[in-house]
Amino acid sequence: MRLMRPLLAVIALFAVWLLWGGLYKTPVLQLGIVSCVLVVWLTYRMALPDQQEHRLALLYRVPLYWLWLLWEMVVTNVQVLRLVLGPRSALSPTIVEVDASASSKFALTLLGNSITLTPGTLTINIDDTRLTAHCLTRAAAKDLRDGAMARRVAAVDPD
């Protein structure tokens, strides 16, 4: 059943479309179906969905992680706000490497995006064994290398 997954994806997307749109006229619905098929086709053309099994535990672990990340964002946003408005001499740009050899692709993506999402740290390169980040201050770089965030990501998706 090679067509089963893309078909399910189209149906799920169209259900979301119906929920979001709220405008049920024939031409609009036709456009909706066409765009859902287009999106699924583009996705399959770009990359086949990974073969990693989808664990249900991620459904509650990821939102819990987001709550922690939200708090981190508040803290770092205030720090960077001060740096932005303060003197330039407070900056101490640092490039730090974080070991990520044990992570799955999902965990690497989550970690890389979380680093970028918290201001003051910015992922600039990812390969299979390590992740390179540009940090606005040395203190931020130290926090990143000490790995509180990496540990939490590893707990979300242990491999």
Binding site: V80, L85, L122, I124, H134, K142
Partner: protein, 111 residues
């Protein structure tokens, strides 16, 4: 809709806007390309979260709130991805970050 909730919603929207404004200032004030990205990242992290959060409180429990939550979710996934694409492209093109100290993964005191 009672007054206190409305005031909280307004406060959230205003503070979110201030973060977006600070992001603009940061993008202009920072010394080089990579630090400018840090400054600008204020606009796509807490700024929209506060603004959309305020609007969600304002909208109450309705389909609008669900849609706003979806918008927030999509923003929080796509904007760091786009930022990474930008920074990684600059790195691959050979743009060197100015005045940085390197801190490898295995160093002791980190300098």
């Amino acid at each position: 809709m009672n007054g206190i909730l409305e005031a909280i919603a307004g406060l959230l929207v205003i503070s979110g806007s201030l973060f977006v404004l600070a992001g603009g200032i940061g993008a202009l004030r920072m010394p080089d390309f990579y630090t400018r990205i840090h400054g600008a990242s204020l606009t796509d992290s807490l700024g929209p979260v506060l603004v959309l959060g305020g609007l969600m409180i304002y909208a109450g429990l309705s389909l609008i709130t669900v849609k706003l939550a979806a918008v927030m979710l999509f923003l929080l996934v796509t904007s760091p991805t786009a930022t990474y694409a930008l920074a990684n492209a600059a790195l691959l093109a050979g743009l060197k970050p100015e005045g940085v100290v390197r801190m490898p993964a295995d160093s002791e005191d980190g300098v």
